[in-house]
């Protein structure tokens, strides 16, 4: 993908499968979101092919309009800067996600106006699906709130619910854990594992929170300056020298206040020690 003289994504090839969580990580500006924008039709890649296989049919995403990618190929996404409909209620946000289904069922309004059974049934099903995801992301008690008034973490969950209400086969999440606290990102992990295992779709994840990436991903892809520098399971990637140099940084064991360490589970102490402050590194980038 080229923007004028700038090559944002350079000759990238990778595969994401259903029933798998595939994470894309890499330094800021490496081209991660650009990949999402190509997949979902926001950009047309300058060269290359994006193939999505669904029920034996192949969709060439780079040739499709964005709305068809969502409707026919079944790719849904969330955004780094939350893009809900802030003045609509939480429930309405989930109903809008099912606009395509409902419009078809209503015979493009007519059946809806006449209240034909086919439409009322479709509407009931849409409500059921919305309720299912509201419950799953813990927002049932705030279904009538304006989405814009929800706290940040809840808006993030609502975005995932809205994407799931389009019944996608591939769910693309752009930094879903950003701005979440420890408890919330733990809940996010459980939600994503559930989507993978029980709904059985593929999840593509851009994320900087390694406690999410390394724990739930089946497969990690690392980008730097638009190129793939590593590809493998979490263990392989986290030990890859190129990834450590470009992205993770090297670890140093340093002191943690003793009274803190004593009181914490060993797993957490290890994690914290690996995050101790270190002197500024010139070759950090």
């Amino acid at each position: 993908m080229r923007f004028g003289g700038l090559v944002a994504v350079n000759d990238l090839a990778f595969q994401a499968s259903d029933r798998e969580i595939t994470a894309i990580i890499g330094p800021n500006g490496a081209g991660k979101t650009t990949v999402f924008n190509c997949l979902t039709g926001f950009y047309k890649p300058t060269v290359g092919r994006l193939t999505l296989r669904r029920d034996g049919t192949e969709f060439y995403l780079e040739q499709m309009d964005g709305f068809r990618i969502a409707r026919e190929a079944g790719v849904a996404r969330t955004f780094q800067n939350i893009r809900l409909f802030p003045r609509m209620s939480v429930l309405e946000n989930l109903m809008v996600a099912q606009h395509n289904t409902l419009m078809r069922a209503s015979g493009f309004s007519l059946a809806g106006l006449l209240g034909l059974p086919r439409y009322t049934r479709a509407e009931r099903e849409a409500l059921d699906l919305a309720r299912f995801w509201l419950d799953r992301v813990n927002l049932t008690d705030r279904a009538d709130w304006d989405a814009g008034n929800l706290p940040y973490g809840a808006q993030r969950r609502l975005e995932i619910a809205r994407a799931m209400c389009t019944r996608p086969v591939l769910l693309c999440l752009d930094e879903p854990a950003a701005g979440l606290n420890a408890r919330e990102s733990y809940e996010l992990n459980e939600l994503l594992i559930d989507i993978r295992d029980r709904i059985g779709i593929g999840v593509l994840l851009i994320e900087h929170d390694m406690s999410v990436v390394m724990q739930i991903s089946d497969h990690v892809i690392v980008l730097d300056y638009g190129r793939k520098i590593s590809d493998g399971d979490p263990e392989t990637v986290r030990n890859d020298p190129a990834v450590i140099r470009a992205y993770l940084g090297t670890e140093e064991e340093e002191e943690l206040p003793e009274e803190v360490a004593e009181d914490l589970p060993p797993e957490m102490v290890r994690a914290l020690r690996s995050f101790e402050d270190r002197p500024h590194e010139e070759d950090g980038h």
Binding site: L6, N149, P151, G153, E184, H208, M210, A271, F275
Partner: protein, 243 residues
């Protein structure tokens, strides 16, 4: 340096701040932690006068700034790197930084610019690009860089680590400590990443639904069982683990 007394802030009927008392002394790093929706960002924004406090007073270096215009508050030496980046998307990186420097004496511009570029080499590479074409993380760097360019005496940081790569997060924390120690900039920091925020801070506050419920040194709060149960433990550590 900064004194907040009995501040209430509303969004329509919703009372986001319900009587906040808080102090930041000159030279300190103070962290504010709390759940999503507790009102942390609202407090930072209220300090800058947008939205206004409906009741209570905010004073900076002994002078009441509760009802002062935001641009005057900035001229007093308060800068904010806000949540959601809020950079100028149609201006280049350099222009964004120049705007930050508008309230600083001109002779410092070159040095300050070099310092920001040393901190974020990515911004140097992208200096002629428009802000809106930067990636999310790069915009976050630009928002922090722009705040630094104004040479603030009090720097308000709203989730500076949001959306940044693990390596860059560490650099940001190093830089916060460095500008505090070497340039004596006072820091008031809001973070979801409570562990890092409290480890960095001299003092911390905990906010729950618009009220301050606890305060202490960073270490005191880190070791406090209630704080840990509420903000630090999620069944697993939330720190960005690199290895």
């Amino acid at each position: 340096m900064l004194t907040v007394r009995g501040v209430h802030t509303f969004y329509g009927n919703i009372e986001a701040l319900r009587g906040v008392d808080l102090d930041v002394a000159a030279g300190e790093i103070v962290s504010l932690i709390g759940a999503n929706g507790a009102g942390k960002s609202t407090l930072l924004m209220t300090i800058c006068g947008n939205p206004r406090a409906a009741r209570g007073t905010i004073s900076f270096e002994g002078e009441d700034i509760t009802h002062e215009e935001t641009y005057r508050i900035v001229r007093r030496g308060i800068a904010q790197a806000p949540e959601g980046r809020r950079i100028f998307p149609h201006m280049t990186v350099i222009e964004n930084l120049q705007l930050g420097a508008l309230v600083a004496p001109e002779e410092h511009f070159k040095d300050d610019l070099r310092r920001v570029f040393e901190l974020f080499p990515r911004l140097r590479e992208r200096q002629t690009q428009r802000g809106g074409t930067l990636s999310g993380g790069e915009q976050q760097m630009l928002a922090i860089g722009r705040a630094l360019m104004s040479r603030p005496r009090l720097l308000l940081l709203d989730e500076p680590s949001l959306g940044l790569a693990p390596l860059v997060v560490r650099q940001i924390y190093d830089v916060v400590r460095e500008i505090n120690e070497q340039q004596h900039v006072t820091i008031f920091l809001v973070e979801q990443n409570a562990f890092n925020a409290l480890r960095l801070a001299h003092r911390g506050y905990v906010m729950v639904t618009g009220r301050i419920t606890m305060t202490g040194t960073g270490r005191e709060l880190l070791t406090n069982r209630e704080v840990r149960a509420a903000y630090l433990e999620g069944g697993q550590p939330t720190v960005r683990v690199g290895g």
